[in-house]
Amino acid sequence: MNQPNRQERDEAELIERAKKGDTKAFGTLVERYQRRVVGVAMAVVHNQEDALELAQETFVRAFQNVSKFESRSSFSTWLYRIAANIAIDFRRGERRHPTMRGEEAETEIQRLPSAAGDSFKEAQRSEMGRRIQEALGQLTQEHRAAILLREVEGLSYDEISDVLQCPRGTVMSRLHYARSRLREILKDLAED
């Protein structure tokens, strides 16, 4: 059996302290995983503001339930699963109670030349970003979450399967579909 390395031992100690109610130890874990937890929430809800809010909720819920965490899975995967569940519930609630989202406005803002400069390269990059976001918007939530968790967050297939609670084979087929569809939509960019 592999011996835990120093970082793992350090993490295990932080978790044990958090289980005893040490908020500072938990704060260190927040700093360590905040970017990725926000990334997981982003992959599901596809909106920055909501993702930040949901990531906060993820950490609060994780702190409340840290005593139930058993080291069967890694702490990071456990956190990502909480984040994905909260984000998926949020999306479900949003579908039941649709409200005006800021996504269209955000897209419009992205179209405007930025104050930092209007060079051709920057305009080109922002146009490309807009097209990619639009293409992602054409995928279903499940396909988008899978491709973003893989390509942007760098999660393995097993981790994605754990986080999205679906079999590994489903992860593979979702990724295959998402890639084929994105390639179709972004043919000129992907085949450059």
């Binding site: 908020t23 905040q34 906060q56 990619i132 390509e151 593979m172 992907a190 085949e191």
Partner: protein, 192 residues
């Protein structure tokens, strides 16, 4: 040799290094002789880069502080509060005294919770009486039944432990529960 159709669904997983060694070998062999699949693979790799470049990076300034503030406001769970109380005792009176005090408290709690008094306090007696009265009424409605059938009807309630059900008169039901020190005698309303 595998056909393009068989290989297409494996290309993404090949790019991610998530196939079994045998499949990795098979795809690599196919790619060596198929320009079309090789182009698809390159497009998938390109797409990954585009998605990473276009991924918004939300500002995390103040994120950890906000989470910390939220978890500080949470009331710690009972287990944590008990742990802190015990730690506090240990610091004040030393290990032995704290241990003796905690064991004494646990012993008192155990005695209280396992006595009939405690069970009565938790409402077992009242529940037993209510169940008895209800079932006795049901028995009265079906006086034509044998004692064994009546007992079966009365014991449908999972929380009732019926030790003995006795009656020689079909209008009177007597239900004894020695373990609860409870006897319920049911009499019909007086006819005018």
């Amino acid at each position: 040799m595998a056909q393009c159709d068989d290989i297409a669904s494996l290309l993404g997983a090949f790019e991610d290094g998530e196939l079994a060694p045998q499949e990795m070998h098979e795809v690599a062999l196919h790619l060596a002789s198929c320009k079309n699949c090789d182009l698809t693979l390159a497009a998938y790799a390109n797409l990954g880069g585009l998605l990473r470049d276009a991924a918004p990076a939300p500002s995390l300034d103040g994120f950890a502080t906000a989470v910390q503030a939220r978890i500080e406001r949470l009331r710690p769970p009972l287990r944590v509060r008990l742990g802190r109380w015990f730690e506090d005792l240990r610091e004040r009176y030393g290990n032995a005294a704290a241990m003796a005090f905690a064991m004494g408290a646990a012993a008192v709690l155990t005695v209280v919770l396992t006595t009939p008094l405690a069970r009565n306090m938790l409402g077992a007696r009242e529940r037993a009486i209510q169940v008895a009265a209800r079932d006795a009424k049901a028995l009265k409605d079906d006086t034509g039944k044998s004692l064994a059938e009546m007992a079966a009807v009365a014991s449908r309630e999972p929380s009732a432990i019926i030790s003995k059900l006795e009656t020689s008169n079909p209008d009177v039901a007597v239900w004894s529960e020695p373990s609860q020190d409870t006897t319920v005698i049911w009499l019909p309303d007086q006819q005018p």
